[in-house]
Symmetry: C2
């Protein structure tokens, strides 16, 4: 706190040149001679000068920051591994470009819109990320009106004129269903996310078409809300059916975990009487009993890609496409052939090493860049 930070004027004075010359030298622009440039840089180094983002931001009319508004309750947010990974990925890109992330956490849609308006009105950010896309989402239009460059996370390119980053959920669900069919399941249910969310819808559609493609009739599908309570309720409904499913594919891990616990609480053996598959590969999934079979998406890579796109958009660059690995199915102990009723197999040995179902060969799109087996590390 002792002395103030040196400004560009201090550097200029010490180096005996003008402010402008210092600016040129520090930004590598032409307009200063070689040895003058050296001298300026040396002085800047000696003085410990760093550019003031406030000054620069005002001068270049840029905030040098981007925004992420999350409309979720702390309960949903705290147990969903998605945002942690997304933000981590975003950060890796932003930090190396000198950008910062402004995070807003709001409770409802109303405040979310208000948040965007404020970010735009005050000029705090140069662009924003948009997540949790809904079917007829008003936010892209709003952001367009506000003149805020936007990258939509989780909307396939065909679904709008917006710049977007997309991982196709469907291979994950497809692999899940195929895995179950291979095991011999014929009555496969789905617990879906809310129909107003595109990822709720697309996962449901993927389940339906995968089941149909396997020559089966889709089992019951219950639309829920991605929450633990919702997963538990939906599971109870499914198990209460006259002909309960032998396998359930959940739209996320949280519902799957709650569903699995509910089933166990009803005395249902898993995976003996009921196979369970989640979506997300929560860090917890491998440590449950039984360990949860689930689809994993490279969310960190998603965040990175989104950040690249947004910075490109802000800088007016072209912004090359980044191809991301497709989801893969991580097979653990919560899935098994149906009708093992009452075998009483020793629970002890049930958590084997996870097997990864990579759809690379079939679809030609999946790629797995990172070591995919998290259970033993």
């Amino acid at each position: 706190m002792g002395t103030k930070r040196p400004t560009i004027t201090d550097v200029a004075r010490v180096a005996g040149v003008s402010k402008g010359a210092v600016s040129f030298a520090l930004n590598g622009k032409p307009g200063v001679g070689a040895q003058t440039r050296e001298r300026i840089l040396a002085v800047a180094r000696d003085l410990g000068w760093t550019p003031s983002l406030r000054g620069r931001a005002l001068s270049v009319s840029r905030a040098l920051a981007v925004g992420l508004v999350i409309a979720r309750t702390p309960e949903t947010l705290g147990v969903d591994p998605f945002f942690a990974s997304l933000i981590t990925g975003i950060e890796t890109v932003l930090s190396e470009r000198g950008y910062a992330l402004m995070l807003h956490v709001v409770s409802d849609e109303q405040s979310e819109h208000e948040s965007y308006r404020r970010l735009a009105a005050t000029g705090r950010v140069d662009g924003v990320f948009l997540t949790d896309m809904q079917v007829d989402d008003l936010r892209p239009q709003l952001l367009d009106d506000l003149g805020l460059p936007t990258v939509v996370i989780g909307l396939s390119p065909g679904q709008g004129p917006w710049s977007s980053v997309y991982i196709d959920d469907r291979p994950g669900i497809t692999a899940a269903v195929e895995h179950l069919v291979t095991l011999g399941h014929r009555n496969i249910s789905h617990v879906a996310g809310p129909a107003e969310f595109v990822h709720g819808l697309s996962r449901r559609a993927a389940w339906e078409s995968a089941v149909t493609d396997a020559g089966l009739t889709p089992g019951a599908c219950i639309t829920s809300d991605f929450s633990a309570q919702g997963g538990a309720d939906a599971t109870n409904q499914l198990l209460d059916l006259a002909e309960p499913p032998t396998a359930i594919v959940y739209a996320n891990d949280l519902m799957a975990i709650a569903g699995m616990s509910t089933a166990i609480g009803r005395g249902v053996d898993i995976p003996g009487q009921l196979s369970i598959i989640g979506f997300d590969d929560s860090p917890l999934a491998a440590y449950l009993q039984p360990a949860l079979t689930t689809a994993r998406t490279d969310v960190v890579g998603w965040g990175r890609a989104a950040a690249y796109r947004l910075l490109a958009l802000v800088d007016g660059e072209k912004g090359g496409e980044i191809d991301l690995p497709s989801p893969v199915l991580v097979v653990r102990a919560s899935t098994a052939p149906p009708c093992h009723q009452g075998t009483g197999a020793p629970l002890k040995d049930r958590r084997g090493p996870a097997r990864i179902h990579d759809r690379k060969t079939k679809l030609g799109v999946a790629r797995l860049d990172h070591a995919p087996v998290p259970t033993t590390s």
Copy 2:
């Protein structure tokens, strides 16, 4: 994107006054007459003027933003409900004061220090929050050197000259141990967090003294790392002991959940043979099988309090104390009297309504502002 946003100069021109007068009028300062003020405000409203934070920030030499640097892997972060709640609480206060939160997520300590240096050097923030305090933490000193106002989250006031916000963990652990003792347990173990973290240490100390106060000898204590893997490993170690505990108190929910699953995987009945208590009250806790008894802290309130303190610090205000509710124990189905071995009680009915153990009367500090029972909503 059509026309540019109006500036204060535009307002001045339209209103037929000087820039300075407009600034006075908009900030409620003396120096303009009543009806001139009215006219200026009207013009500003008509033009849809909002202050540019960039201009203001430069002028007042403030960033009007505060920072939070989180040094965690996405795996740890994604499953720990702490930060979601903390950030939510922080946001409620910041947003109503026009401040914003700059979030940095980094992987290691090295980058964390680098982050702080950059935030300070570029003047991006006016102050920062400090979490995950370690025993001989170098960061407060660093931030002091950098001249960055800091509020430490989770350090008791006596432990340093730093401005801090604190909830005493210990009543939660104490209540947990007392609950177990009341149930009849005599061999109570603890799975602790890393000894370099103050909340790891303090929870361990609380366990030890609560057990001792009950006239018992502390059972085995294993120092782990707050991760699922660590919780599973520690549980295996404890169950392999010649005299395994009849109850385990974990330093967080994640380890407790993994530990519970591990025990179940070994054929141990919970809570029949082993009682389990976590810490955090993760949104999942109520939906596990059996539902997890755990201590709940008002983390959102913590975030709010921390934000108030930091803004007070930044504004040079005094910053009144905010008293926060102590942790309470949420009793669910994972705890029961010991030695129920092999009762084969129907799992179905095990998830009763949660009971809250509030230590208000005993300690005179606990307060529960929010509806505390989350299981049925």
